[in-house]
């Protein structure tokens, strides 16, 4: 049974207190929330922070709140909360699709959306979800809040724009009419990282054409949206041929690596296949929602 190297521990009493502690202890300090990314790495001694700043008591960061045309989700919101939220499920089914396949139900009691995004594992499902939904990250530092998009948030594998003495406090999702979304993942077994996954969000025009579309993929070496495939679809009616071509373009755009989860060729194929599936699913959901009330979807 592996155990971490020694460290010191402090419990933040507020976000400002967390920021102060991070500032005081510098780069050797690390925030811990759910801990299910950080603690396993510490147990294997791949990560050795000298200070752990526990933010689990900051319940003021645990919320799901509609605020006009945005859904605001506190960074400390647990995976389980998002999975079970009817509001999230109705506005952004992609989140629920993804949460259903993030880790396992016990881990989801502890893990948080903030923790997942800040861990920035290349196979992190929520990173793709936030990219596809055009989410914004609210980051607080000693000088106040700044709001950035996902492109700026994601710097590279395991690296984000959150500075050593800043705290991600909220993720904001723009709410759009006549829109829906979907996520699908292939894993070797429940709880495994994705072999590959894809997410899509669509906004429909009156005539059923795609006003807007966003496509993202997971674990295949592409952290930006698949612009090539999106450009093909945007403004057009989503025919079978177009969706198939979008799949092909996605398969061409990714850069997967062969590993124990799968071969490069297979992952490339999956990227394309799953992109088609989530596009069809998102479109069907958006259409159904449109038929229902035109205001946003039914779950």
């Amino acid at each position: 049974m592996q155990i971490p190297a020694p460290f010191d521990y402090a419990r933040a009493t507020s976000v400002d207190d967390a920021i102060a502690l991070l500032t005081r202890y510098g780069e050797d300090a690390h925030i811990v929330a759910g801990g299910h990314s950080l603690l396993p790495m510490m147990r294997l001694r791949l990560a050795r922070p000298e200070w752990l700043i526990d933010i689990n008591e900051l319940t003021e960061l645990d919320y799901v709140r509609r605020d006009g045309d945005r859904l605001r989700v506190g960074a400390l919101t647990r995976h389980r909360t998002l999975l079970e939220s009817a509001e999230v499920g109705s506005l952004f089914p992609i989140v629920v699709d993804a949460e259903r396949v993030v880790a396992d139900p016990v881990v989801r009691n502890r893990g948080t959306i903030g923790g997942s995004l800040c861990q920035a594992d290349p196979a992190e499902d929520l990173s793709t979800v936030c990219t596809v939904l055009g989410a914004e990250a609210v980051i607080r530092g000693a000088d106040g809040d700044r709001v950035i998009g996902m492109d700026e948030f994601h710097v590279g594998p395991y690296e984000t724009a959150v500075a050593f003495n800043e705290v991600l406090v909220e993720v904001r999702f723009p709410i759009r009419l006549r829109s829906s979304s979907a996520y699908e993942k292939v894993e070797r077994r429940v709880g495994d990282w994705a072999v590959a996954a894809a997410g899509a969000a669509v906004t429909l025009a009156d005539d059923g054409a795609l006003d807007d579309v966003a496509i993202g993929v997971t674990a295949v070496g592409l952290s930006e949206r698949v612009a090539d495939a999106e450009d093909l679809l945007r403004g057009n009616r989503p025919t079978d041929d177009l969706i198939a071509e979008a799949g092909r373009r996605t398969a061409a755009a990714v850069d997967p690596m062969t590993d124990q989860r799968g071969s490069e060729a297979y992952k490339r194929h999956l990227a394309g296949e799953l992109t088609q599936r989530v596009l069809r699913s998102a479109i069907a959901r958006a259409t159904r929602g449109d038929e229902n009330d035109g205001q946003g979807q039914e779950a």
Partner: protein
């Protein structure tokens, strides 16, 4: 005797309220039958006593430093910094063990293995140094302070290249050794087989790989060693499936007198063959205790378990099958390359270096068969015989059941029909399988047809045809396995010279309660219940009045332990016989009590009574009290109701079963879903159906694991890629269906109660059913073969016509 029962599915059973023995005493069997387990009350309260639960006064903790590389010479080891750390009591290296003659110890296959490396590292994860500290955190921290200088050597990883002339030499320390060849073994008749193949209408060849996997019980291996320097006694609490065998071997290896060694296997959290061998960690805990004068606990972590303890399988098998055009089997050839790792640590009877691979002809009649196994060394952890393999019968069974389906494809014949056409007929038993084993009994066709009926085989084929017409991938896979379990007799089967016969002792107390002491060791198989039931069946004392003692070498008779499903066949036989001995003795005493002759008495469960006068009888309880009382005992009878027996089984028992698996494959992703699994098992007389069903369910899950996700892989540098549960995947409740089980009963003619083993049956039989199902699903795409694990990626590769071997 034939009994065919209705299957019970999980959902059906869950809605019935007829299986709550706790609520209804009358439903509790005195003898065989469904009986709630006697061991459960402590487990459900969290009061199990596992090795890591043991805390002794002054106990220290040990941790092993393991080599990060697969093949490297040790240039130097510097332990000075570790020794200086707070809480560290000792640091032991190979140099310290050499003068004690403990740097190397014998394996169970007459090879040697390193306890701590002295010359060079031979596999990644090998033991290099042992730290003993005040607590486990201090021990773990100290590992980082040990400095080891390695000189890298090219690693020998690809077993197929192990016998190449330029292959890196793994065992250069063996005098005169110039290659990685361990041994060759064969069985059957090569000349006759060659002749059959030469004249056959149809010959099909197939490479079939059984990749390296790991038993991975939920509890890892460990020990607490407590050496008393004053008395010279060593008490060893150990995760061991074979405490007596371990005691004898440790006595021989460590030079400690056997009567001074006390091994206690308390509760064990799963064994599956992982806890048969004597690992360096156990030896190091013992040495640590001797050196420090305190108890020393060593518990391995999960990566140590996966990387260094006994793996299973790793057989690369070339199969050839010869048949007539109309599907009569003629000949079978198996040519196997076995990767044993860096030391030959396989644990099987001495005269069977390839275990019971002799079972490879399976359940069928052949004109001739020939099997050959070549074993080689590689720079990987040692092992091979583990994970419910019944001594390589998993490999043999998987091989033949895959070959049969391969032939069915070639002949365009229904795989069920092909099997039915070639089964060993009931009247042919006992049957010499032409590869050295005599199967005791079987009613193969009956069992097969029962399974086909439960599965609704014809309906499934109809459904498959409809789905195929729509381009959907659905597969039906069959496996009809025969395994041989219950190793003994001692003249044929020994481990390190210890014959595989097992003892049992029964004592009936004056108040009529009983204690039975057995040599085998449960790791979850319900021995505390089932062995009480065997005694109960024979003597009529209720199971709750019978205590079963196991796991403590001081309190139990000698025996070779639990593995290869031998508990019921061997120890169960011993227990039945010892109970009959007691019952026969009771007859003599009862006759004296009733003032009649023993031959005038008749038995009904629980008492002897006068023939023709049922009111004149004595219960076992009354007899027990009288035996210890004041009455005049008959000549030759001493004043107790005790007996002991060592049972030398005349043969293995041959359990078998018919398994049907239905899978659906997502055409776009290659993901396999096991939709249904129907398992009909025949293990002869059934002691406790509830326990049997549980054993089968567990083994079927192993099959899903191996068929779809389990594998220990290595990269070309010899790094083990399956060293954590992130990569070594085991099925969860989501990957398995609700099992559908049924049974038939074909008793073993030679076993005292007609029972055969069941613990490994489902692990033996299920992988082929699942893989055959996957291949069947992919037939429309022209696929004729795929190797495990059938991960989505590997399935998809096969669908593209590019299947790859896993090693």
């Amino acid at each position: 005797m034939t009994i065919v029962d209705e299957p019970r599915t999980g959902s059906e059973h869950g809605r019935h309220h007829d299986h709550n023995p706790a609520a209804d005493d009358a439903a509790r069997p005195v003898g065989f039958g469904r009986l709630q387990r006697k061991e459960d009350p402590r487990f459900i309260r969290g009061q199990g006593n596992y090795v890591d639960d043991i805390v002794l006064p002054g106990m220290l903790h040990g941790a092993i430093l393991r080599a990060p590389v697969a093949h490297a010479r040790i240039v130097s080891i510097d332990t000075s910094e570790a020794l200086a750390r707070p809480g560290v009591r000792a640091v032991i290296t190979g140099k310290d063990l050499e003068p004690l003659n403990l740097a190397w110890i014998p394996t169970l296959s007459y090879d040697v293995q390193s306890v701590l490396v002295t010359d060079k590292v031979r596999f990644q994860g090998q033991e290099v140094a042992f730290v003993i500290a005040d607590d486990r955190y201090a021990a773990r921290d100290a590992l980082e302070s040990i400095e080891v200088d390695y000189e890298m050597l090219p690693p020998m990883i690809d077993a197929r290249r192990a016998l190449d002339p330029d292959a890196p030499l793994v065992r250069d320390e063996m005098e005169g050794r110039t290659d990685n060849f361990i041994n060759d073994w064969e069985c059957g008749d090569k000349a006759a087989t060659d002749a059959v193949f030469a004249n056959a209408d149809v010959v099909v060849r197939q490479e079939i790989v059984y990749p390296r996997v790991h038993p991975a019980p939920m509890e890892t291996c460990g020990a607490v060693a407590d050496f008393n320097p004053v008395s010279g006694d060593l008490t060893l609490y150990e995760t061991s499936q074979a405490p007596h065998a371990h005691r004898t071997v440790i006595a021989m290896v460590a030079g400690l007198p056997e009567h001074k060694i006390h091994i206690i296997s308390p509760d064990i959290g799963g064994g599956f063959g992982n806890k048969v061998g004597i690992y360096p960690g156990y030896v190091l805990a013992i040495v640590g205790s001797i050196v420090t004068g305190k108890p020393v606990k060593w518990m391995e972590d999960r990566s140590e378990n996966l990387m260094s303890t006994s793996f299973a399988r790793d057989y690369i098998m070339q199969g050839e099958i010869a048949a007539t055009k109309d599907g009569r089997l003629l000949g079978l050839r198996a040519d196997v390359l076995a990767d044993l790792g860096a030391f030959n640590g396989t644990a099987q009877p001495t005269k069977y270096p390839a275990g019971f691979f002799n079972l490879f002809p399976g359940s069928y009649t052949w004109e001739a068969v020939h099997g050959k196994v070549t074993s080689v060394y590689t720079n990987k952890a040692p092992g091979g015989v583990a994970y419910a393999c019944s001594f390589r019968v998993t490999e043999a069974s998987y091989f033949v059941e895959r070959m049969i389906d391969r032939l069915a494809i070639e002949l365009d014949m229904d795989p069920a029909e092909l099997r039915l056409k070639n089964f060993i007929a009931t009247e042919q038993f006992p049957y010499d399988n032409k590869a050295g084993f005599e199967y005791d009994s079987g009613q193969y066709e009956m069992t097969m047809r029962h399974a086909m009926q439960l599965a609704g085989y014809e309906d499934l084929r109809r459904e498959q045809a409809e789905k195929r017409a729509r381009g959907e991938l659905m597969g039906i896979g069959i496996s009809f396995f025969t395994e041989g379990v219950g190793a003994g007799p001692r003249k044929h089967m020994d481990i390190l010279g210890l014959g595989m016969a097992d003892g049992a002792e029964l004592r009936i107390h004056p108040t009529g309660k009983a204690v039975v002491r057995i040599s085998v060791q449960s790791q979850g198989q319900a021995h505390e219940t089932t062995f009480a039931q065997i005694v109960s069946e024979e003597i009529g004392i209720p199971p709750e009045d019978i205590e079963v003692v196991h796991g403590d070498t001081d309190r139990t008779p000698f025996g070779l332990g639990t593995y290869g499903s031998r508990s019921t066949p061997v120890s169960g036989g011993a227990v039945a016989l010892v109970t009959r001995k007691v019952r026969d003795k009771a007859r003599l005493i009862a006759a004296a009590m009733l003032e009649t002759r023993p031959e005038d008495l008749e038995w009904e469960k629980g008492r002897w009574f006068v023939k023709g006068d049922p009111t004149a009888g004595k219960t076992i309880q009354e007899i027990a009290l009288a035996a210890h009382g004041t009455m005049e005992l008959p000549e030759g009878v001493d004043g107790n109701l005790d007996a002991e027996v060592t049972y030398d089984p005349p043969n293995l028992t041959f359990s078998y079963g018919a398994y049907f698996c239905v899978t659906d494959i997502d055409k776009g992703t290659g993901k396999v879903t096991v939709r249904r699994f129907v398992a009909v098992d025949d293990c002869g007389t059934r002691i406790n159906p509830m326990v049997i069903e549980g054993q089968v369910h567990g083994g079927l899950t192993d099959g899903v694991g191996m068929a779809l996700m389990e594998i220990i892989e290595f990269d070309s540098d010899g790094n083990c890629l399956g060293g954590t549960f992130m990569d070594y995947l085991i099925p969860t409740a989501m990957e398995v269906p609700d099992w559908e089980t049924g049974f038939t009963v074909t008793p073993s003619p030679h076993h005292p109660i007609g029972a055969k083993g069941i613990g490994e049956s489902a692990t033996v039989g299920s992988p082929a059913a699942i893989v055959n199902s996957v291949i069947d699903a992919l037939r429309p795409l022209g696929v004729t073969a795929i190797d495990m694990p059938c991960t989505p990626s590997r399935v998809w590769d096969a669908m593209q016509g590019r299947p790859t071997a896993p090693v």
